[in-house]
Subunit: 191 residues, 2 copies
DNA sequence: TTAAGAATAGACAGATCGGTCTGCTACTGT
DNA sequence: ACAGTAGCAGACCGATCTGTCTATTCTTAA
């Protein structure tokens, strides 16, 4: 297998479980069984590795979520599926996503608080991508274009809230709860 | 001034801005101008200092929030005030809370992911305290006792969502939005 | 007065940090 | 056949990490 990919995968597992600052290069090397020279052959610095890890997770997570949502009818079914997927993730029913430890991008922003920091911005872009997925469902639902952005922000807020409640408070049913809340919000809009 | 308190205040400022793992003892000492021996006279280890910092922030934040909420009529006004206070915090209109960098306790859980970790548990307890504040408002609103816990969880979810949206995405109006959503949820309950 | 406690500066220890480098092996495409 | 690439182990560098310790000063209460 590709050593570069092995490094990214190992680094992600360690970063996600323990935090980025808490994990050293040497730990990644020891865990993966790869030589230091090889790491610095593929990445110019730890920072570059972290960026690759974020990009890797971005693709993996977004593609998984989009494939779940796109497998059903856009709109009503799509939004339901979004929250059901979230629920599966939180309750460790998705093998490819690693045991739930909150959102890797929220966690990264917690460690790199400054919005101008490159790692914070990459995390922000990931959230924007997911937001786009939500916007598409709302358009399919027939939400007026001028309300789509505000509404998507509300749905995103519920999604982030569910992730944090599940991670910090251990509320494993938070995704289901946020789904119910989402439909109350949407019902209020359509009434 | 009390050296112990100076250390806690300085450590909090640095931890909150840069993350806990990213800040070393020496940086805290240099910033505060306090000797290393003095730190280890008051705290047995960095871990002990961190715990004191969390407790300090817990008290400061909760007392501030509770004093805001308790200054108005419990129930409708109390819940409104809760979200208005959140809005003030997010938009840096609260001098005593330091510039907004997300929730210190969410950030701590991001760095110490394991729910059994002492720092994670302290953060969880803080959230439980705030949740109690919300429950009191709901009871004053006349929410049936068997619905109070579930409803408080919903309000908490909105609150956490707003904090994350504000921090990660820079959505500074997230608190106002979550307030509107809260009233839609509550209106649905009462209808 | 004096003894204890709290503070100071900073050397020091042992470990680990990110990153460089040497020297060697193995594969692979032209 | 040979050059280039990817890989290995691990020594090494300077910096920084948490934590200990010595030696000295200041404050304060019995």
């Amino acid at each position: 297998m590709d050593k570069r990919q092995q490094l990214i995968q190992t680094a992600f597992d360690l970063f996600y479980r323990n935090g980025i600052h808490a994990v050293g290069i040497n730990q990644i090397l020891q865990t993966s069984g790869i030589a230091k020279k090889t790491l610095y052959h593929h990445f110019s610095s730890k920072q570059a590795l972290i960026e690759a890890v974020l990009q890797f997770r971005d693709e993996k997570f977004y593609n998984w979520l989009a494939s779940r949502v796109d497998a059903v009818k856009p709109g009503y079914d799509g939004l339901n599926e979004l929250f059901d997927a979230l629920d599966d993730w939180i309750n460790n029913r998705v093998n490819m996503l690693t045991d739930f430890n909150g959102c890797f991008f929220i966690n990264t922003c917690a460690e790199f608080s400054d919005p101008k920091h490159p790692l914070h911005q990459i995390s922000q872009q990931h959230k924007q991508k997911v937001n786009g997925l939500i916007e598409r469902q709302l358009r399919a639902l027939g939400v007026h274009e001028q309300a789509v952005f505000s509404m998507a922000e509300s749905i995103s807020l519920l999604k982030e809230g569910a992730i944090v409640m599940a991670h910090v408070q251990g509320k494993l049913s938070a995704a289901q709860k946020s789904k119910d809340m989402a439909w109350l919000i949407l019902a209020a809009y359509f009434s």
